[in-house]
Amino acid sequence: MNIIALDTSTEYCSLALWLNGNIISREKLAGQRHSELLLPMLQTMLTEAGVALSQIEGIAFGAGPGSFTGLRIACGIAQGLAFARDIPVVGVSTLEALAQQVDASRVLAARDARMGELYFAAYEKMETGWFPVHAPLLCRPETAPEVIGEGWTGCGSGFALHQSVLSKTYSENLQQIIPDCYPHAREIAQLAAIKFANGEGRAAEEALPVYIRNKVALKESERQR
């Protein structure tokens, strides 16, 4: 199977081509220029790989959590490509992509959610893939949920920002901390290949971001006090 994977959930813009198990990937520090960079980067990669867009059979994108605007750029582009080519899409969790990247057996993935909060998930590696001990959730660093046992690897910008609090919470669990990693299309492509094989591909219009932070404004009735 040939897959295009893309991620714009961070200040990086990353892309990967999964070509029947071979991966080509690329990234650029984009700041806020993801929309300018992504598709031209994709064209260059396709040309260099000698692959036509018509040979692509699925689109994968970093569905979140991450920058809301970034998630929608990746999702919108994935939707557009998939709709135009009539091929399926899968959204991949950016936290699961982090777990895949650090490649330990037990992973605590945490990303900065701003406002003093974290996007957090805990995964254990199984033969079938990553099992979510805690599926992606939003929490304050002090209230990150417990995990059982030793040998956990903590990773992501959440650990960079709140290392002291999280080290304390997970003092009996953590084996190592890898704070300086960010979700990348390379691992999104790997995870997507499994998901497509499992029949998890969806129609373009069903591909949506997974924000995790769902409360973004107060209704008038909630603003009274």
């Binding site: 929309s35 300018e36 960079l37 992504l38 598709l39 031209p40 994709l42 064209q43 867009l53 809301f68 605007t69 929608r72 750029i73 999702c75 919108g76 582009i77 994935a78 939707q79 557009g80 490509l81 709709f83 135009a84 080519r85 373009a204 219009e205 949506l208 971001p209 924000y211 973004v216 404004a217 107060l218 209704k219 008038e220 009735s221």
Partner: protein
Amino acid sequence: MLVLGIETSCDETGIALYDTRRRLLGHALYSQVDMHRDYGGVVPELASRDHIRRVLPLVAQVLEQTNISLEAIDAIAYTQGPGLAGALLTGASIGNALAFARNIPVLNIHHLEGHLLSPLLSDPAPDFPFVALLVSGGHTQLMHVKGIGQYKLLGETVDDAAGEAFDKTAKLLGLDYPGGKLLADLATQGQPGRFRLPRPMLNSNDLNFSFSGLKTAAALLINKHKQKASTQTRADIALAFEDAVTDVLVKKSITALKITRLQQLVVAGGVGANSRLRQKLQHHLAGTGIVVFFPELEFCTDNGAMIALAGALRLQQLNEKPPGSDGSFTIKARWNLEDL
């Protein structure tokens, strides 16, 4: 030439198919107004979250309605700005990816150009040149429209947009969100002459507008009557307010026609749906030889048809068909129409 139009600049998702020969073939609109009502205004993040759910289903709906396949589309026109950044980016991402994947050109459309040209969707349609009064919740401008892309600003609001003043005053009158239309409905019950509100800048020697002072005057009047504000009193205030706004819009439009010596006036934007404004303009221009054009009511609000139309006209204006999109795009949350 067949153009797919995508509009996502604020709280309406609009999709349309326009053909340069057969004109508007189909369109679909989803308004988020019910969702934003609970918040008392448009929440930009929620607007963006809704657009990404709506665009493709509406595209699919329009293609099905018109029995046209995506492969038949020659170009994609999308609203590049001005508007809410996150909302614009959603339509831009989908539109640009569609164009890139189909190797067809993409047309970056100015939202207000869409509004300006929207009366061209009707029959009879105005010919260039004309004066356009653009009145909505976000804009109040008088433009001299010489042709596609040739727009000269004659005057604009120095503070609130007319539609914004309508909505804010409606809120003060206790009307539901968005209240502009409800205020106009209430005003039909009003007793003429009971209250009089100022007509700001009516006699200023330019074509600019100001509505923030009028809104304050209306607020003072509403507060004064708050204790015993019967429905009749509220209707009377609504009428006085609507009268003041429309008087200014009419007077300045007529002055703009005189200065430019043009014979056609186009009224566009959400406030263009206001029937008192329509009646007053018809009344004042009767017998002058000046013809006033209004878009169909469904094209007064934001919509995809005007974006597809603007894209098609722009495409027609080019000597040769532009190349397929390279996929690089940016949006312009702020964008002056004169910079086109």
